[in-house]
């Protein structure tokens, strides 16, 4: 239990009257990659966004390294330990890629500019976009933008990375390059929570898979078991539908 990173306890989230998360109990350990899948509207993004309190949940709690998010008074500093990658990249269009990556290290983590930039170049090298450093997001391909967004999140030196459908806005040939970066990260032991429909990636890279429906976790299994013997009919149907597509 010593490497418990995130502990979700009896979490309930409503949007107005609509219950988006229904009594979620689960936990995530350091060094593991967990994929979250499920039909549209099942609450995957909501769960992810509760982990760094971008969504203010009404009931229950999320503990990050034992620290209660509900009681946390300095949420910004807690968020700077968690990287997040969005479906539509959300790079800042008015800044160069380099500035996108160094912004939070400089202003949230108070790093000096030279330090932040040196680190940014290391990360850009790692995701393969060094040549794009001084360009603006609009000048990059979708795949390059998403890799830049990953570098921006990694610049926080996070303990956990959250990915919300990082490849679903990309053309097929660009999906591969982003998934490769994510796979390398997982191999290096980064704790990752990934919402994705890329079952190939899930199968190859993830340690565990969570299946959600209607705001509940229906099933959570080792990756191997999840594919070989899912016990609920809903998971089976979902897999049939999504695997046929591939």
């Amino acid at each position: 239990m010593s490497n418990l990173l995130v502990d979700v306890r009896e979490l309930n989230l409503w949007y107005g009257k609509y219950k988006a998360l229904d009594n979620i109990n689960t936990s995530f350990t350091a060094g593991k990659c967990v994929v979250i899948c499920g039909p549209s509207g099942s609450g995957k993004s909501s769960l992810l966004r509760c982990v760094n309190r971008l969504e203010e949940f009404q009931e229950g709690d999320v503990l990050f390294e034992g620290q209660s998010l509900r009681e946390c008074t300095n949420i910004a500093s807690l968020r700077s330990e968690i990287g997040m990658v969005f479906q539509h990249f959300e790079l800042y269009p008015h800044m160069s890629i380099l500035d996108n990556i160094t912004l939070a290290p400089r202003y949230a983590k108070k790093k000096s500019k030279p330090d932040a930039e040196a680190h940014a170049y290391v990360l850009m090298e790692r995701v393969g976009i060094t040549d794009q450093a001084l360009k603006y997001p609009a000048e990059l391909s979708g795949g390059q933008q998403q890799r830049a967004a990953i570098a921006r999140a990694l610049a926080l030196e996070p303990k956990l990375m959250l990915f919300d459908e990082p490849t679903s806005a990309l053309d097929p040939e660009m999906i591969v390059e982003v998934l490769r970066v994510m796979r390398d990260l997982a191999m290096e032991g980064m704790a990752m929570l990934v919402v994705t429909h890329e079952m190939g990636f899930a199968r190859e890279v993830s340690d565990e898979i969570i299946f959600m429906d209607e705001g509940k976790i229906i099933e959570r299994k080792n990756t191997e078991d999840f594919f070989s013997n899912p016990n609920s009919k809903r998971v089976q149907d979902f897999l049939d539908r999504i695997l046929v597509k591939i």
Binding site: A76, S80, M84, E90, Y92, A104, A153, L156
Partner: protein, 216 residues
């Protein structure tokens, strides 16, 4: 027509124009930062911030400018027992009035920047205020440049109201010269040309900046 009357009185008229420009520039310089803060307040989740800004904006926008200048020129002295002065009451009246209009322009500019940009900023550990200042406002400003320039031109035209408290801005100066020379036709045509030039320059600038926005 005797256009000589304009040449003879040009120094006096230009002094008035200078007063108009000074007023407009000062008003914009004060109203704009106030409006930035209020616009952020206007979209805040906290009701005790949001409601006061909303009330302020709506009161200002439902009154004519001239009435707000009168408040400071006539009402405030009655309440406080000392006169505000013509320049000060015009300045204060204009600043609060136009701050309200600028607030609405900036607010819609901010709302034109996606909610996800805010979330991206927050997710990296930047504070709400930092996210606004470094991520949202720069993008919002770029989107609203045309509307802002139009509003600045309106501020310039609005300076004519200063005339009601006897301040010698451009239109008031023109009026004084017509009284003296009895040549209203020439003078008012001249005034129209000057206002036209200023506004035309403004809209050219707006169009230019708008074009640039499309490219980047």
């Amino acid at each position: 027509m005797d256009w000589n009357v304009i040449i003879v009185n040009l120094p006096f008229l230009m002094k008035g124009l200078w007063m108009s420009i000074k007023l407009a520039v000062l008003v914009i310089c004060f109203a704009f930062p106030i409006a930035c803060v209020m616009a952020v307040g206007r979209i805040s989740n906290r009701l005790w911030i949001r409601y006061p800004s909303a009330i302020f904006v709506n009161i200002m926008r439902s009154n004519p400018l001239i009435l707000i200048v009168f408040w400071f020129f006539f009402l405030v002295p009655i309440l406080t027992g000392r006169p505000v002065g013509d320049f000060a009451s015009v300045m204060i009246g204009f600043v609060v009035f136009f701050a309200a209009y600028f607030t609405e322009i900036i607010r819609s500019g901010i709302q034109s920047v996606g909610r996800n940009q805010i979330q991206a900023g927050l997710s990296t550990g930047l504070s709400y205020f930092q996210t606004m200042r470094m991520i949202v406002l720069p993008q919002a400003l770029r989107n609203m440049i045309p509307a802002l320039i139009t509003e600045c031109v309106i501020v310039f035209q609005g300076t004519t109201i200063a005339y009601v408290v006897g301040l010698r801005e451009f239109l008031n100066s023109t009026f004084l010269v017509t009284e003296r020379t009895l040549r209203p036709a020439e003078l008012y045509i001249f005034a129209a040309i000057v206002y036209f030039i200023v506004c035309f320059a403004g809209s050219l600038l707006a169009r230019q900046l708008e074009k640039r926005k499309v490219i980047t």
